[in-house]
């Protein structure tokens, strides 16, 4: 396989993990965040420090990244308990700016120069570059997808959706809204931390500007485009928005305009995203599929 293609697919896998983790918060728990890149960055910087400064290896570095991002996610999620939805959005944007500023102005984190020289994952003497790293990333994609699907079948899944649907009704059946939101932040940010960890390992370096507000908007657009609150939606969103700009140069230059337009049009015409339950695309695909299946059936001599 072409090295460029492998690299693009690897980054798409990382975007998928990031989008899936945000979807838990936005799509299931109903807590909109435009600061998710902060936790992506915290995971990446944790791995950078853990490998470069502390000499930690795989998988401890990734585990540590998940723990640090998850714990900070829980703490920084505390404002979510106090503010209404629209203010939460603002609060998460604020968190994103603060975290980037910390990366930028902390000498131990390399300041604006970031941290370079992060070694690739090494298992049993094999350096995970190229195809190996691609497979490792998609192993994480599958594991996280499976974990998420399992989690949603537990009572915790009910807690998330109940809080999203109606906080008063959730409390009335014994669900602590506050602790449900905090755990949603912890799990979602831990997922972002894993994505960040893989990102740092893949790229070999981290810089503050990789984890800014624009990245948060990008990942939110992936979730909303694909369909918040669906298992496959964020995957579709990450493939489209993570892959297209690599091949269509003009998208790269205009991507913020395009993301903005996408969000606006989605909110007006397809609020559930491409894979949402009410989506026209899904209905259309379903109809097309049924027609095809019917044709095949009747086409028999």
């Amino acid at each position: 396989m072409d090295a460029y293609l492998i690299s693009v697919l690897t980054f798409i896998g990382i975007w998928i993990i990031l989008a899936m983790s945000l979807n838990l918060l936005v799509g299931y728990a109903g807590q909109v965040s435009i600061g998710h890149a902060a936790f992506f960055g915290i995971g990446a910087y944790t791995v950078a420090v853990a490998t470069v400064n502390l000499g930690l290896g795989f998988p401890l570095d990734i585990l540590l990244a998940a723990l640090v991002s998850g714990a900070l996610g829980g703490v920084l999620g505390l404002p979510a308990l106090r503010v209404r939805h629209d203010f939460l959005v603002l609060a998460t944007i604020g968190i994103n700016f603060i975290v980037v500023a910390v990366f930028q102005y902390t000498p131990a984190l390399g300041g604006a120069y970031g941290i370079v020289g992060i070694p690739p994952v090494t298992i049993g003497g094999i350096e995970f570059l190229g195809l190996y790293m691609l497979l490792l990333v998609y192993a994480f994609v599958l594991a996280i997808l499976a974990l998420k699907a399992l989690l949603l079948r537990t009572w915790f899944g009910v807690r998330l959706i109940a809080v999203r649907e109606d906080e008063d009704a959730a409390a009335a059946i014994g669900i602590s809204v506050a602790s449900t939101k905090i755990w949603a932040f912890v799990l979602s940010c831990a997922g972002a931390g894993i994505a960040g960890a893989l990102y740092a390992r893949q790229l070999g370096s981290v810089f503050p500007e990789n984890f800014g507000f624009v990245e948060s908007v990008t990942v939110l657009t992936m979730v909303v485009l694909g369909g918040a609150g669906t298992l496959v939606g964020p995957i579709i969103g990450a493939i489209i928005l993570g892959g297209l700009p690599e091949y269509l140069r003009f998208i790269q230059d205009w991507r913020y305009v395009i993301y903005g337009l996408m969000l606006t049009f989605l909110m007006i015409f397809e609020r559930d995203g491409l894979m949402g339950p009410e989506s026209r695309l899904r209905a259309w695909l379903g109809r097309g599929w049924r027609t095809l299946a019917a044709d095949r059936g009747s086409g028999k001599p």
């Binding site: 009572w155 109606d166 409390a171 669900i175």
Partner: protein, 248 residues
């Protein structure tokens, strides 16, 4: 008399300068169906919110089943056995009817993160219990229907079914008959009696006087945040203060 199941002493609630509840005291005995009536804006729903914990009271104290619950939040009170419905109805509209009932059945797992991530929602015993409650509320035909697509009257029944699924000691119903036809209200009253037969004590806010008189064992009348009368329906109906409050 035995210890009441719920005891409220001088409960007050202010909204700015407005006294929505002014030193309300009441008791609910185990096993009764208690009615709470009063004109619009009398504070009935505010009282429910204070009893269920969705609004903190500004003064007074509340005891439930021997526990001091005045400072507890709504979810803690629910886990102690106080279930409720809401005046305008609050269902989980993207879930099916059965999933709404299952959500209520999970109450034992909601107290801790660990228990809620280890318990499966659609286990055998949960599904059996859900079926039984769906039957009780005559919802078996709608079990797999998305709640959002159902008429309001049916949604109200779903909400009550979800509340009963939490296996409460006390069930607070906020205007369950609002918007129902006479026939539907009758059949709902029958359901409430069967709920009581399961050992659940019921307090019901009602606007529909006939429904309240038929269903309840005892009534409190709330007017402008104060209780002005209490007693069996037949007595309350004749009370001159009540007649004045209702007829102006």
């Amino acid at each position: 008399m035995s210890q009441p199941l719920l005891l409220a002493e001088s409960v007050s609630r202010n909204f700015g300068g407005l006294k929505a509840l002014d030193q309300v005291s009441l008791h609910v005995s185990a096993g009764e169906i208690l009615g709470l009536i009063g004109p619009n804006g009398a504070g009935k729903s505010t009282l429910f919110n204070c009893l269920a914990g969705s609004l903190p009271s500004s003064g007074g104290r509340i005891q439930f089943n021997g526990h001091e619950i005045t400072r507890l939040g709504a979810s803690r009170r629910a886990r102690l056995g106080i279930a409720r419905t809401f005046q305008l109805g609050k269902v989980f509209s993207t879930m099916t009817v059965k999933e709404n009932v299952l959500a209520g059945l999970g109450i034992g797992a909601y107290g801790s993160f660990l228990r809620s991530v280890t318990g499966r929602v659609k286990g055998e015993s949960e599904l059996a219990q859900a079926r039984e409650i769906l039957d009780l509320f005559q919802l078996h035909d709608e079990a797999e229907t998305l709640v959002a697509t159902l008429p309001i009257g049916v949604q109200r029944r779903v909400e009550s079914a979800r509340a009963v699924a939490t296996n409460p000691r006390l069930l607070l119903l906020d205007e369950p008959a609002a918007g129902l036809t006479h026939g539907e209200a009758e059949s709902f009253a029958e359901i409430v009696r069967r709920v009581r037969a399961r050992g659940i004590t019921v307090v019901v806010i009602e606007h529909n006087m006939r429904f309240a008189m038929d269903l309840t064992d005892r009534l409190y009348v709330l007017v402008q945040g104060r209780i002005i009368a209490e007693g069996p329906p037949a007595t309350v109906r004749e009370d001159p203060d009540v007649v004045r409050a209702y007829l102006g």
